[in-house]
């Protein structure tokens, strides 16, 4: 089975570029150039230098001793939370902003859910002196206020998306409309492995540094570069794509993709696309999609803004359908429990998104001699208000 994108932009039957003609010139320009540019020595040199000295890579692979003891297995945390700006998102934005510069673009747009991608985009735009506009759902602007403040500090314009569920899907719609309206000078930095080809492949490549490092670090620590399990949360699926990438063709490494069940799979308030979705088209890609019988996109729900999306990237649809990855879903409450658990056992406050991956630890049933790598995609600073509310810690 092949898990890499084919020459037409498909992973199995998923992917492609289902876009209106107005976007065709821009997407085509990117498709024709992205691999060539990514392979240029001076591009790689600039990217690697930024990843090392600016982002702070490699991020540690940390053996979580007390957590391991609790689950009676061996758990390593890939510390993407220690990246500059606090999540894996910057691996991608550093890469894409360099791509935008090579293509001569002056104006950067992005969508964001949790605000981590928005902050990571605003950050690299400040670094490069580029104009930055970030679309964010009105609901997410409320629940991820610290990240809105950070984007503003960085000089980005944050534009509320007020249609639909006022979350990530709607912010993405607005960003795409902006791109249609500004086809000449604008580059769209998509924040996950979603959207029309070549975005899913390009973003996966920029995030693949995660599994590249895991391999080397695990080898150094255990003598074996292959864990038994790699676990990551999936909103659109970029941190999971990065953590899985170099293990895709190593079937003995089990890949666990964790989606948000929200209030529960059958509650009507969920974002577990692999369970609730069917093949469809969203944001230019053929993939699994939560939709009505009539093909209208369903409004998803999760406490976690970064997982509150009715689709998954086409790679993940393919991994699901082929059985290469195992999909789990975690409710709001289970994720919150996992937040508290990691915080109190290891002194690390995770992001709500990452907590979904941690909560899956209890469902995997790993043996005492097995090794699990959990991709800790981000830190919980942005979620502190939610945490204080839900754990009733105000005024204590």
């Amino acid at each position: 089975m092949n898990y890499k994108v084919d020459e037409n932009g498909f992973y199995g039957k998923f992917g492609g570029a289902y876009i209106p003609e107005m976007l065709y010139p821009n997407v085509e320009e990117l498709r024709q150039n992205y691999l060539k540019i990514m392979q240029e020595p001076d591009f790689q040199e600039e990217l690697q230098a930024l990843l090392k000295d600016y982002v702070g890579r490699p991020t540690p692979l940390y053996f979580a001793k007390r957590l391991s003891k609790k689950y009676n297995t061996n758990i390593y945390l890939k510390r993407e939370d220690l990246n500059h700006t606090g999540a894996h998102k910057i691996n991608n934005t550093v890469g894409q902003v360099l791509m935008a510069k090579r293509l001569g673009k002056k104006r950067i747009i992005a969508e964001t859910g949790a605000g981590q991608h928005g902050v990571a985009t605003a950050t690299v735009c400040a670094l490069m002196g580029l104009e930055c506009i970030v679309y964010m759902g009105e609901v997410d602007i409320q629940r991820q206020a610290p990240n809105v403040a950070r984007m503003k500090m960085l000089g980005a314009m944050v534009v509320p998306a007020t249609s639909g569920s006022k979350t990530l899907k709607d912010a993405t719609n607005e960003a795409i409309r902006d791109w249609i309206n500004n086809p000449e000078d604008t580059y769209y930095i998509i924040g996950s492995v979603v959207g029309p080809h070549p975005y899913p492949d390009m973003v996966a490549r920029f995030q693949s540094v995660i599994s590249e490092e895991i391999k080397a670090q695990l080898k150094e620590k255990t003598g074996n570069e292959n864990p038994d399990y790699v676990v990551a949360c999936v909103g659109g699926g970029s941190n999971a794509a990065g953590a899985f990438y170099h293990y895709l063709d190593t079937p003995e490494v089990k890949l666990i993709a964790v989606e948000a069940a929200g209030l529960g799979i059958d509650s009507g308030e969920s974002a577990a696309t692999s369970v609730l979705g069917r093949e469809g088209i969203i944001h230019g890609s053929r993939t699994l999609l939560m939709q009505t019988e009539d093909g209208q996109v369903t409004e998803p729900y999760s406490i976690s803004a970064g997982l509150d999306y009715p689709g998954v990237g086409p790679l993940h649809a393919h991994l699901h359908q082929s059985g290469r990855a195992i999909f789990e879903s975690i409710t709001d409450d289970e994720a919150l429990q996992a937040v508290l658990e990691l915080t109190r056992l290891e002194g690390i406050i995770p992001a709500l998104e990452s907590a979904h991956a941690l909560a899956a630890l209890g469902k995997i049933g790993a043996k005492p001699n097995e090794t699990i790598v959990v991709n800790l995609s981000g830190r919980g600073d942005k979620d502190l208000t939610t945490y204080l509310d839900r754990f009733e810690l105000h005024g204590k």
Partner: protein, 260 residues
């Protein structure tokens, strides 16, 4: 039977007025009355919008009309039911316009079959890629006598326009400027280089200009460069003015067709 779009262009090649509206808006059962009223007022061609929850190429007006239409209960089966006997009442060319996902879920084959039975003449699906159409669906559309109409924009290269032209029958939908539907900031008709360039290409299909055409002035300008123009958002706004549907349609269409 000859396709009605073809018949239309054989009879008339200038100042064609085409109107887009969203099926099921403002009220669920308005679809057929709107079609008949448009014909009565001398409109040449009608695009019936199939509402979608996430219309990527549309501005706020069509987004909102789509949301309301869906809330009113519009679905693909409902629309086909409403249109079932439309050919008893009118021979105006009818085009269905919408996004790929609802059509895909309905089944492209079933969709073409039923559209053709009703007497639909053309289909516009902006997010169906040309390459997929040619590979998977072209023969199906042709078999059902459905014209597949493609969009071009000011950024579309000459080579691609020619490729699109070679796979199109009916007309080419020329998006007026780089924008989603309904934008009236800036003049939709400012990009005269583009209109002249396309006009000079001697394409096999006629062109109709759409997006941002909203009054007699922009309509007339568009007709200087193409066979006609499409009005969408401005018409949808007019529908919900004070007064009856009939009155609003009549007032709006007359304002486009006649000098003030």
């Amino acid at each position: 039977m000859e396709n009605r779009i073809k018949t239309l262009f054989n009879q008339k090649s200038q100042e064609l007025l085409s109107v887009y509206f969203t099926a099921g808006y403002p009220n669920l059962e308005d679809t057929v009355p709107i079609i008949l009223e448009l014909e009565k007022n001398g409109v040449d061609l009608i695009e019936i919008g199939m509402p979608f929850s996430d219309p990527l190429a549309d501005g706020p007006t069509i987004q909102q009309s789509s949301t309301i239409a869906l809330r009113n209960g519009m679905t693909m089966p409902k629309l086909f039911e409403q249109l079932k006997h439309i050919r008893k009442y009118t021979q105006i060319p009818l085009v269905l316009m919408g996004y790929l996902n609802p059509v895909m879920q309905y089944g492209v084959e079933r969709f073409c079959q039923e559209a053709s039975e009703i007497g639909i003449d053309g289909i516009i699906l902006p997010d169906l890629p040309l390459s997929d159409y040619v590979r998977d669906y072209k023969s199906l559309f042709e078999q059902h006598n459905l014209n597949k109409i493609f969009l071009i924009s000011p950024q579309t290269t000459e080579q691609r326009i020619r490729e699109i032209d070679s796979h199109t029958n009916g007309f080419i939908y020329m998006v007026s400027s780089a924008s989603v539907t309904g934008s009236t900031n800036g003049n939709a008709m400012a990009n005269t280089d583009y209109f002249q360039r396309v006009a000079g290409m001697q394409l096999q299909n006629p062109g109709i200009i759409g997006f941002g055409i909203h009054n007699r002035e922009t309509f007339t300008q568009a007709c200087n460069y193409a066979s006609g123009a499409i009005i969408g958002s401005a018409f949808i706004k007019a529908l919900v003015q004070e007064g009856s549907l009939q009155h609003n349609i009549q007032t709006f269409i007359q304002s486009i067709k006649q000098e003030a």
